[in-house]
Amino acid sequence: MHLPILPILIPLITGALLLLPPFHTTIARQRLLALISAFAQIIVAFGLLSVADQQGTQMYVLGDWQPPFGIVLVADRISTLMVLLTCILFTGALLYACAGQDKGGQYFHPLFMFQVMGINGAFLTGDVFNLFVFFEVLLIASYALLVHGGGKQKTQSAVHYVILNLIGSSLFLFGLGILYGTLGSLNIADMAVRVRELEGAEAILAKTGGLLLLLVFGLKAALLPLHFWLPKTYSSASAPVAALFAIMTKVGVYSILRVHTLIFGPESGELADIALPWLWPLSLLTLAIGTIGVLASPGLKLLTANMVVVSAGTLLIAMALQSEVATSAALYYILHSTLIAGAMFLLADLIARQRGKAEDRFVKARAVAQPRLLGIAFFLCALSIVGMPPLSGFVGKVMLLQAAEEAFDKFWIWPLILISGLVSLVALSRAGTTIFWRTTAPSGSDERVHLFELMGVGLLLLGSPILVIFGGEVTAITSEAAAQLFNFSQSVDALLPQQNMGGQ
């Protein structure tokens, strides 16, 4: 009954509890409570996904103000899938942080909780203004987490990140104002219905609003001219924070999916598919630039951050295809790329700590203290992130390539995705050989991998084989989710009970 709101309430309440007496001074108690809450969130997210899958879309109407007037949460297959992904990634990052990285400054655990609350809320909301509010919740937590632990590098990149996102928030509000002025509603389903009736000057205004929103989501998703903040920000953040940030670009992609395939989708009359002329070239260029960045990275953290840009480009290409098959492939790829990028950020930190002064840079240096353990983990991670056969990256890429059906699409998408895969393979092989084999002396550091760190990395890495072994079940859910999104009567009319009554 109240299941859809739990993924927002649990982190909110836990975050508040963590600031209160029995917990606020003792780090051990904080860790225990945070971990319990994280596992509870995973269970709730699983429950929500199975409910949404079997009983159809769950709508949670806050305060019983019926849509389109009240605030609603919509738990359909896509949003619950993303919530589950967030909770798993969060648990992995939290386990890693519990090994000692959470002691870099105060309030790490509460901030981490609030960040998850914002991300879950952004996925679950059925209302564009609440999307803005949850964006701000996740952003302000991320600002604080980014500078957590201190250091020149972090402050420097945080200034860029915060200013850019504040301008982004202003543009978001401008876009919302325009859309509310023309459509008279902020409920996503209601907007999708009303946008069809617009014409003339109103349509042009609404188009401006829609494209402003695309700009804002593009900033979050690292679409080409707006991606410059990403590599530096992600590579300077501490490892668990960077791992959790891996889902933030996906929040942008998800918002594009919601707003630009539903409100400004194929059936929106004059304003049908307004985002496509922009998404097409920009997503391809994002992929290309990200790949060049991967090749040019001097260190493993920066390389991983550039891989995040590559995966964002790949996902946006799938959005630009605007078809059921492509969206299903994109959902699978989101699951894969988020978990693996998170694992890679954690691994990069483990490697950097064991190499002494050289940190994660690709230079000849001392060996790592545990070459076998880290080497095998790095190898698996690299295989998966590049998209080599046995692991999930391969499956995701094959699904994406299959989604490009027409000759024109194939002509552009196939070579770019394949070449980008090859280039990433080259860059990661170079990274691996330099870090593990080109060594000057045996390791002098007595850093060892903590059990919690191993569990965190293991949990995220395990996602890759699981996505392959249970590939059938996962693709069944993603394809049904995509079908639901493109079926107007299921994704819109079902959410507007009053409209239906009036129609009859």
């Binding site: 701000e136 604080a144 250091g151 200034v159 200013i163 509000l173 919302l176 325009i178 509310y180 002025g181």
Partner: protein, 122 residues
């Protein structure tokens, strides 16, 4: 009224964007503040401008749309918190990095001038 209102919002936005593009953190923060003022006014106008119309149903013949007012309230609160954060961050970066440039280092104007002079001499 609409004309003046639109002009004010436009002016605020223009000033905000101009200041946000400056190189030092202080003008950038002021620019962000102006931009958020412009946004608040803009959101307020999205429910259409009306005089003598309370946002209450049934109290008078005319009533104005209450939703944008609620939105503006939310936006003000969020904007205020964000501005507070960015001010603190700017001070922190001034302390950490030793200057108030947004890039964390001053653009090397003198070195560039020297380079230009050397080229001119050749």
């Amino acid at each position: 009224m609409e004309g003046i209102y639109a002009f004010c919002v436009g002016l605020l936005t223009a000033c905000g964007i101009f200041l946000a593009l400056r190189g030092r953190t202080f003008p950038v923060v002021i620019g962000l503040t102006l931009l958020s003022y412009a946004v608040n006014l803009f959101l307020f106008a999205s429910g259409r401008l009306k005089v003598n119309a309370a946002a209450v149903l049934g109290q008078s013949e005319q009533y104005s749309d209450p939703l944008p007012q609620a939105l503006v309230l939310t936006a003000i609160v969020i904007g205020f918190a964000m501005t507070a954060f960015v001010v603190i961050l700017a001070m922190r970066s001034r302390a950490d990095l030793g200057n108030d440039h947004v890039d964390g280092r001053l653009p090397n104007v003198q070195a560039q001038a020297r380079l230009r002079n050397r080229k001119l001499r050749k």
